[in-house]
């Protein structure tokens, strides 16, 4: 019973940040403050990184507790990470740059923090595309190899954040610390069952 509810509940919870933004944009613009484009970009960027880290928490959570539910929702959380990164990019390109393609191209090529962030999004595309059961079966062992890209993607996400901050590194350092902890939690498993994605 509880397990049947698990997925719809997690799905709705994961959508809440988006629904909140939708509410702010359509009904309560005051929430967005003086610089709404910046607010929307930063907000979706933060949720992207949070969902990446939440996704990366699932495997260690399962190992530490023995619960199986983390693995059941891992795919959904990963897809939400892709959803928020895409939203982040769409808002940046569509609203902040107002579809000024030459400006976007220049940003991607010349601003290292945007190059890094854009690369992370590109790398997420194959992961999202191969997230179905059919693709998992078809790719077999190579699926796990491919999906290890998420470690690189999260690293790029952290670099993207720390490079864009003007001076106060406190917030990106919190995310980076959590990311490092999540990676360290994987170490023992790695040495025991070598070669398996965790």
């Amino acid at each position: 019973m509880l397990l049947q509810l698990l997925k719809p509940v997690v799905w709705l919870l994961s959508l809440t940040p988006f629904l909140y933004l939708l509410y702010a944009v359509t009904m309560a613009p005051d929430i967005l403050g003086a610089n709404p484009q910046e607010y929307l970009t930063h907000n979706t960027g933060a949720w992207s990184l949070r969902f990446l880290l939440i996704t990366l928490l699932m495997t260690p959570l399962r190992r530490l507790t023995g619960w199986t539910f983390p693995i059941r929702i891992r795919r959904m959380l990963g897809l939400f990470a892709f959803f928020y990164v895409t939203l982040h990019l769409v808002i940046y390109a569509g609203l902040d740059l107002a579809l000024d393609w030459s400006h976007l191209g220049e940003d991607i090529l010349e601003r290292p923090y945007i190059t890094v962030g854009f690369t992370a999004w590109l790398l997420l595309i194959p992961l999202a595309m191969t997230s179905t059961n059919a693709m998992m079966r078809r790719l077999g062992r190579r699926w796990k190899k491919l999906h290890r890209l998420v470690y690189l993607i999260a690293t790029l996400g952290c670099i993207h954040f720390i490079w864009l901050v003007k001076k106060d590194l406190q917030e990106p350092l919190i995310y980076i610390t959590i990311f490092i902890v999540l990676m360290l939690l994987r170490l023992p498993a790695r040495s025991m069952k070598s070669g398996q994605a965790t």
Binding site: V25, G33, A34, N35, P36, Q37, E38, L40, L95, D96, L97, A98, D100, H103, E106, D107, E110, R111, P112, Y113, W163, L164, K166, K167, D168, Q170
Partner: protein
């Protein structure tokens, strides 16, 4: 000194009466709120605009732009003032702890009239002018702000600088009790900024004491802040307690914090990008809809006529 009127006034930019009326209405309702705030029990904790005080005898300046000013709300709620926190909304929330009365400014260095001056005495000898200036932050956003201030050149002349005075350095208050953001070493406190003497003596340079015809709110740098509109926002040091005249170029806070990213001059320049982001365009705060494009940034923030001569022959890529 030659005072040039800005040539950037486009008919479309002149504020229609509708907006004036809205603005006046807004200010009046704001004053109503201030009245309510004085009634015990109705006082809103942390409300930095609780006591809004009108400034008297303010004259308009020909150096003002006719562009539509950014709303009072945006100007007073979206601020960089790290002494009260690094978030844009932190200053409006936290700056109520700053005590601006009484306020003394120490004036020292290469001048004949050093001393500790009461703020009132510094200001009362000068004319209060409304200067509506474009404001361009180094983070690529901009506003149009109706400051009230006094001419910096006039003030400096009264201190009688000696021939050794080549730079003028300003220092912000250091008091972590009043400025809680100073408890963290985000920047090297106290905040220091400086101008070359000829920049300080330019007709555009003012020390601001007001905003929208009223006393400067704490989050905007009360009670006394620099305003040099052709430079990036961070040059415009807030809550000034010391003015020092020097022969050597002073070490300034942001140039120390990131020498590759923030220079001493910090002139608005769309051709010289910040190492991490473009300075070619700016987000105009409070304008249009979510789909409004960024505006092209102008050389010296559109004050080229008044200030370009200060830098003739200088490589602005090197002296950024």
């Amino acid at each position: 000194m030659l005072i040039k009127k800005p040539s950037d006034i486009k008919p479309s930019e002149i504020t229609p009466p509708k907006h004036y009326k809205q603005r006046r209405q807004f200010i009046q309702s704001g004053l109503g709120l201030a009245g309510a705030a004085m009634v015990p029990g109705l006082w809103l904790p942390g409300d930095a605009h609780a006591a809004r005080e009108k400034l008297k005898g303010v004259v308009k300046s020909p150096l003002s732009t006719s562009e539509k000013p950014t709303s009072y709300k945006d100007v007073t709620s979206y601020n960089n003032f790290y002494e009260f926190g690094t978030g844009k909304d932190d200053p409006a929330r936290n700056a109520h702890t700053l005590v601006t009365k009484p306020w003394t400014v120490k004036v020292e260095g290469e001048i004949d009239k050093p001393g500790d001056y009461h703020l009132e005495d510094l200001v009362k000898a000068s004319t209060l002018e409304e200067r509506i200036y474009r404001f361009r932050c180094v983070e690529a956003w901009s506003m149009v702000i109706p400051w009230v201030g006094i001419s910096l050149a006039e003030l400096i002349k009264r201190f009688q600088p000696t021939s050794k005075a080549k730079f003028v350095e300003f220092t912000t208050l250091y008091d972590p009790k009043q400025m809680p953001g100073q408890k963290r070493q985000v920047l090297h406190w106290p905040y220091v900024e400086a101008l070359r003497m000829d920049e300080a003596m330019n007709a555009l340079s003012i020390l601001a004491v007001g905003l929208y015809g009223e006393v400067l709110p704490n989050q905007n740098g009360a009670p006394l802040r620099l305003m040099v509109p052709w430079k990036y926002g961070f040059k415009n040091i807030k809550s000034i307690v010391k003015i020092r005249f020097t022969e050597q170029m002073p070490k300034t806070t942001w140039a120390l914090a990131g020498p590759r990213e923030y220079g001493f001059y910090a002139n608005v320049n769309p051709q010289v990008n910040h190492p991490r982001w473009s300075q070619a365009r700016e987000r105009v705060i409070g304008s249009g809809s979510l789909f409004t494009r960024r505006k092209k940034t102008l050389m010296f923030n559109g004050y080229e006529e008044q200030v370009a001569h200060l830098y003739s022959g200088m490589d602005l890529k090197k002296y950024f």
